[in-house]
Amino acid sequence: MMLEIKNLHVNVGGKEILKGIDLIVNAGEVHAIMGPNGSGKSTLAQTIAGKQDYEITKGQVLLEGKNLLELSPEDRAREGVFLAFQYPIELPGVSNTNLLKTALNEIRKYRGLEAIDTMEFLTLIKSKMKLVELEQSLLSRAVNEGFSGGEKKRNEIFQMAVLEPKLAILDETDSGLDIDALRIVANGVTKLKSKDNATIVVTHYQRLLDYIIPDFVHVLYNGRIVKSGGKDLALELEERGYDWLKEDKELIAG
């Protein structure tokens, strides 16, 4: 098992946002998480990545059996978790290259590997840039500063490509992208997929799932996963919206 979440409850700002999440993701799988605005999708993603100030009141999160909740965010990343943020932050004064090289080397150090040499690093990032069709010039620029929405999202996938995580969580990486950018992002993700890693895509839109075919689709509603299914569930959601699940959920909640 790559990721195992058991009865996870999370409070944010004193309010319970996640109300008992159970989720199992195996290596080689793609899971899509859908759900209306404010249902807790980003909260779940950021909880896995280790966001401070999120209070975990109950439950467990295991990565390959290892308790993630007791690790710092940086150690989670070093263990192989990667979060592509819904709203990637701008970091003026921090160059993309510097961020990546530092990150890569800290991860390598954690794993007992030597620092990457400069030539090797340059070759690596060159090949990964091609994957997401990013302009070379973005490398020397500050992280996301003045980037267009699409460039920011592609930059997230680029970072993911360089860091090669075991578990990638893409939080609405497709939102706000035009069809070309969407294709590029989706292609990047698909190419990085292997039998040894797993991907969770948080999305509102079925169209991403035309490119990245999910093995499972889950609906997060009001802090709970109220329905899980195969890729057809996404189509159904696209057609019917979420309201029919509300009734379902009320039934469940009884």
């Binding site: 990545a49 280790g50 966001k51 401070q52 710092s72 965010p73 940086e74 989670r76 990343a77 070093r78 990667f82 979060l83 943020f85 990637p88 932050i89 970091l91 003026p92 004064g93 921090v94 510097n98 961020l99 990546l100 530092t102 990150a103 890569l104 800290e106 991860i107 954690y110 500050a142 970072q159 860091l163």
Partner: protein, 429 residues
């Protein structure tokens, strides 16, 4: 009143003939005696408590130091500049300096320049600093004991930076008073680095005054690095007089001293001037730094652009006061001012104040100040990429300081500063 014994100096002056030097000292002693030691009731010193200066008995310089070429290596900026001037404990060290007197540039020990007393020197010396109202500038003029006179002649372009290195290695509490005069002739161009450094943690007081005349259509780049001893005091006035269509670009970087203050007074004396004033101070522990700038837009069509940044840790204190005066006829003035501070501890504090006095109507003035902590979302972003707390913190502090450091165009100096930044924030928190 500072505990400084003037009796000996006064007696010496009265026994000698009234040379240019003695006349200046005499006048300065008069000014100095008429001024009060600044205290917190004084608006200009409201947040800068310097009363601890009075606890020490500082003496004027005496004795020498046995510093050699090898010792100063660590203060050289990566490369040996063609124009290198070294002062150790207030004494000009000829063996460590390059003697320059060409058609394009003259660099002399200020002592020599005072004694030579040329027409040009006399025309500019002691004309710009506020020795009549500024207690410490008055004090400086009473007994000047190190510094350089630099004259870039008309139409000369000096490509290599000029590095003035003031090193302190005092074994007892000393008052050292550097004094500089820089003249940039018409259409000239040069870069001058004023660098204060120390060999130990000793207590001394460096009271510096630098006067800068930026001639018509010239471009002068001035960088001041203050890395005095941790327990020292550094107070300075930099007075800049700018002529028509001249450019002045400056960066003041301050790390050292228990208390330090940069007073920067810039005056536009002609149209079309452009002044860019950048600064960065980094404090820890009980350090205090104060930057007071004053830009006098006395003439129309001039631009001033100020950006000062502070990084504060421990119980340190930072003060920024940015005065901009736009005189009634100074139409089409652009004045931009920004002061950003980042606070790394719970106990550090910054007082920042813009002070705009605008008497013309067709002007653009803006100012802004921020005081904040390291952004937690930025921290989380870096950590989520596998970067540890300490490195992430360092990256963000670095990023904060980077625009000021990047504004410095001398490569060796930029690397030198990057290195200091690196070391400074390398400690565990």
């Amino acid at each position: 009143m500072l505990n400084i014994d003037f009796a000996e100096l006064e007696e010496k002056i009265s026994n000698e003939e009234l040379t240019f030097r003695n006349a200046i000292a005499k006048e300065a002693i008069k000014n100095y005696s008429s001024l009060d030691f600044p205290n917190n009731k004084d608006e200009e010193w409201r947040f800068t408590n310097i009363s601890q200066l009075m606890k020490h008995d500082f003496r004027f310089i005496s004795g020498s130091s046995d510093i050699n070429r090898n010792d100063i290596k660590k203060f050289l900026l990566g490369e040996i500049f063609k124009y290198q001037f070294v002062f150790v404990n207030g004494k000009f060290i000829k063996e460590l300096s390059s003697d320059v007197r060409t058609q394009n540039i003259e660099i002399a020990n200020i002592d020599t320049a005072i004694d030579n007393n040329t027409e040009l020197f006399k025309k500019h010396f002691a004309k710009y600093a506020k020795s009549k109202v500024n207690y410490f500038s008055a004090l400086n003029s009473t007994n000047i004991n190190s510094g350089a006179f630099i004259n870039i002649t008309d139409n000369s372009v000096i490509k290599e930076p000029i590095h003035l290195l003031f090193i302190s290695d005092f074994k007892r509490k000393t008052l050292v008073q550097p004094r500089n005069l820089f003249l940039a002739g018409k259409n000239s161009q040069a870069t001058i680095i004023e660098h204060y450094a120390a060999f130990n943690d000793n207590i001394y007081f460096a009271n510096a005054v630098t006067e800068i005349f930026v001639g018509e259509n010239s471009t002068l780049n001035h960088i001041k690095i203050q890395e005095e001893s941790r327990n020292s005091y550094h107070i300075s006035e930099t007075a800049i007089e700018m002529e028509r269509s001249s450019n002045f670009e400056s960066a003041a970087i301050s790390f050292g001293g228990e208390i330090s203050r940069n007073e920067i007074n810039c005056k536009f004396n002609g149209q079309g001037c452009e002044a860019t004033l950048n600064g960065l101070f980094m404090l820890d522990d009980t350090q205090l730094h104060d930057t007071h700038t004053s830009i006098d837009h006395a003439k129309p069509y001039c631009n001033s652009h100020e950006q000062y940044k502070g990084i504060l840790d421990g119980k340190s204190r930072g003060v920024f006061n940015g005065k901009v005066i736009v005189r009634p006829n100074a139409q089409k003035t652009n004045a931009f001012q920004e002061n950003n501070n980042i606070i790394l501890s719970n106990e550090a504090l910054v007082n920042t104040k813009p002070q705009l006095e605008i008497f013309a109507d067709d002007v653009k003035c803006s100012h802004g100040a921020t005081i904040g902590q390291i952004d937690q979302d930025s921290m989380f972003y870096l950590k989520s990429r596998g970067i540890g707390e300490e490195t992430a913190r360092k990256i963000l502090i670095h990023a904060f300081a980077s625009d000021v450091v990047k504004s410095i165009k001398v490569n060796g100096l930029r690397d030198y500063l990057e290195n200091i930044l690196e070391l400074r924030f390398n400690k565990e928190k």
